[in-house]
Symmetry: C2
Subunit: 458 residues, 2 copies
């Protein structure tokens, strides 16, 4: 039992280097806690690196590394869904435990990978794949194991949160902040995965399966990014007591027929400004979980970066050290929290059936009958109104208007164009779509209606 635990680190980018450094910095802590020596025997890297301890073998042939006899745990931090998939598959087939930070791979191929792992009696650990250093996978799988999760809401893409935080704090436009995020290294050269919501959708798929005990269903996640958020909407939200955050949202709902429906959605969301989640700023991540009987708990920290991700990777390694220390491999926590034969797929609700409140911004003529017409259409679609805000336009792009026209009564003038902001109570997307189609057909509506979902988080 006193043999060291031997790791292979595949990929020496930010995260891989973070893992190597963590083992150097905190070796004593790891030993004091695990009672074991933990060593890296191999690193997988295309370029030979001078900064790696000479006792660690460097090799570009990843397949041969994972098959090596002197490897107990394979740490995959290459990323992507091609080479990484082959390497992980190969590792599992060779009876190696795997630790990965690869949300895209797991969200898209996790069902197959976990099944293969079960078959080969190894574990694929993935704490680092969601919310970086925040231990949300273990918390949900183990600490909340006695709970029924009702919903969860997560700020799970740091780049998106940085952009929205800067837009609010400094009234900077989206494109401007995005290019800064790219310069700071928060956003990739191709920021699509971040700003279009795909990265958050990958992570939400993982969280939702663990929360609700269902196979991964990435393809069912409704996904909307932050590219259409304007400073105008950020400001109106603020005036109404809300902040716009890009959330991953998963909810279990009892339907009218008594069955359970699951909503999986990623989109910009107005949330009350006095909630902790609304105060998670910059590149930070946080996940808020509402469970029975626990109630609401929130988990906050760095969602990316070498140190935070390495911390999560090594937490998984420490769990596996315990598994490797018992003869029969231990009675491990199931990959998706529920035992594979107890996973089941509830009804995954299509977008049209999703239920949420809305922020609407209408560009209307400033005309006496306008509000009556709009509210009648909303009422016909069973949409209850929580608040209406009619104010001078913050967006000065409407330069066809003279400034002094904006606050004047409109009756005897050419009507002004004014924004009307409406907050609604929860309503299905279908009803909202119908109402918006009707409103946009009106002559008094002068531009496409902006809609952003709203969650009270209560």
């Amino acid at each position: 039992m006193n043999n060291p635990i031997r790791l292979a680190v595949l990929g020496l980018g930010t995260v891989g280097t973070g893992v190597v450094n963590l083992l150097k910095d905190n070796l004593t802590e790891l030993k004091r806690r695990s009672g074991k020596d933990i060593i890296i025997t191999h690193v997988g890297t295309r370029r030979q690196r001078d900064d790696i301890d000479s006792q660690i073998k460097q090799n570009a042939d990843l397949m041969s590394i994972v098959a090596s006899d002197d490897v107990d745990i394979v740490i995959e931090v290459i990323g992507g869904t091609t080479v990484a998939k082959d390497v992980i598959t190969h590792a599992i087939q060779h009876g190696k435990h795997v630790v990965t930070a690869n949300k895209a791979l797991l969200a898209e191929h996790g069902n197959d990978i976990f099944a293969l792992a079960e078959q080969h009696h190894v574990h694929v650990a993935f704490e680092a794949s969601v919310a970086g250093g925040i231990p949300i996978i273990k918390v949900m799988r183990e600490s909340l194991a006695a709970n029924k999760v009702d919903w969860l809401a997560g700020i799970i893409n740091g780049t998106g949160n940085f952009i929205l935080s800067e837009m609010r704090d400094k009234a900077r436009p989206f494109a401007d902040v995005l290019s800064e995020a790219q310069q700071l290294g928060y956003a990739e050269a191709d920021p699509t995965f971040d700003v279009e919501g795909t990265d958050a959708a990958h992570k939400l798929a993982l969280l939702a399966s663990i929360a609700f005990g269902m196979p991964l269903a990435f393809e069912h996640v409704y996904c909307e990014g932050i590219t259409k958020i304007t400073n105008q909407d950020v400001m109106y939200a603020q005036e109404l007591g809300y902040r716009i955050k890009h959330l991953g949202f998963a909810k279990r709902r009892t339907l009218n027929d008594g069955n359970t429906g699951i909503e999986l959605r990623v989109h910009p969301t107005l949330i009350p400004e006095d909630t902790l989640l609304a105060n998670v700023n910059g590149v930070k991540n946080a996940v808020l979980i509402d469970a029975h009987p626990l109630g609401q708990t929130l988990y906050y920290g760095d969602g990316a970066g070498a140190g935070a991700t390495a911390s999560a990777v090594m937490a998984d390694v420490m769990d596996l050290v315990r598994v490797l220390s018992v003869a029969d491999g231990g009675h491990h926590v199931p990959h998706l929290s529920y035992h594979p034969d107890h996973l089941n797929t509830p009804t995954l609700l299509p977008a049209e059936q999703m239920l949420t409140s809305y922020y609407l911004r209408l560009t209307t003529l400033d005309h006496p009958g306008v509000l009556a017409t709009i509210t009648q259409i909303l009422s016909d679609a069973d949409i209850n109104i929580d608040a209406i805000l009619q104010q001078p336009d913050h967006d000065h792009s409407h330069d066809t208007l003279l400034p002094n026209q904006q606050r004047e009564p409109s009756a005897n003038h050419t009507p002004n164009i004014v924004p009307v902001v409406i907050l609604t109570q929860p309503i299905t997307e279908k009803n909202m779509n119908d109402a918006i189609t009707k409103m946009e057909a009106l002559d008094i509506i002068k531009d496409k209606i902006v809609r952003i979902r709203l969650e009270e988080l209560d």
Copy 2:
């Protein structure tokens, strides 16, 4: 392996009843996740209860329950340090695993209890003992296992936080809010443990040992309650951009001689109002941990109550179900995160050597030389000043003064008495004590100097 896991629940107060209800409500979830049937075979209660399933044996003789053959795990939710101690000892000696929510018992006798458990190859699990439903014990022991903790700061007494939140939000005096907290059932009839900080000190002792890998050292926790906090100080703090929270604070510091020193302290603390911790209100708890390489993470939720505590108790049970499912008892996570033979006691710093910033409120004569005299004393004690606030007194209890005197220049009048608020940079308690003694000896200082510690949490 298909035998059910059999629980004995000792104590049917709020928490015990919560555990019984949780097992009823979420039986399916527990089975789907653990793959096991989990049943309560015994409850320990003085009064026979009609609301308990008839298949569960009720018994007032706790010692006979824990010795029963049909009990795998003993859940101790009696509280107190007498009967609970005997029962847990007896359970361990009979080879039973124990789950407890008893922070007082563990903080005061945990070293002995954990040693006895090691000796008998059983585990004493105690997630519910700190911060209620927040899974802070598991997070620190397992998820942060690869980290070196630098410091942690926790709002770990809900009653205290409720009182301070109400004092701030509604400018209500301490005594008034305390009596409401008692009516609401947040505070005990004897609120000493909450408002004097003992309860928080118990919890801090547990957190600190896990963070730093040292035996429990409750007797070394510096402890100050919230009974002396006034609305005046709450308001000044707010004007300066801070909120007063009652924190448990544990810090590892490198001393001038190169050795490591540990500070363990519980006291009211000014923290920046824009931190998440400052926005944890009402009875909620939260723990902020600064660790390397993870950085700062925060964990938030209900610190008490039937549901939250039962959730934590059952999370421990779920861990023990895995331990009970392997032949050799598994390779368990050590009670205090570090293996017992790797625990060591670093230098625990006495109060005089603790290093912190301060908020000082001086009641001074409004006299030209006053500030010069005070700042000279501070400077002589190596205390750097961060901010000074000199304003009309918020506290109208000084009714010997005429209202119109307060803002007048003082030169040619009987000098007014005005409060001067000073924020300092970090300084040892010894230096601060010396400076305060000198200042209080001055004729220009008209009342005892109020001091509250301040932490920037950065």
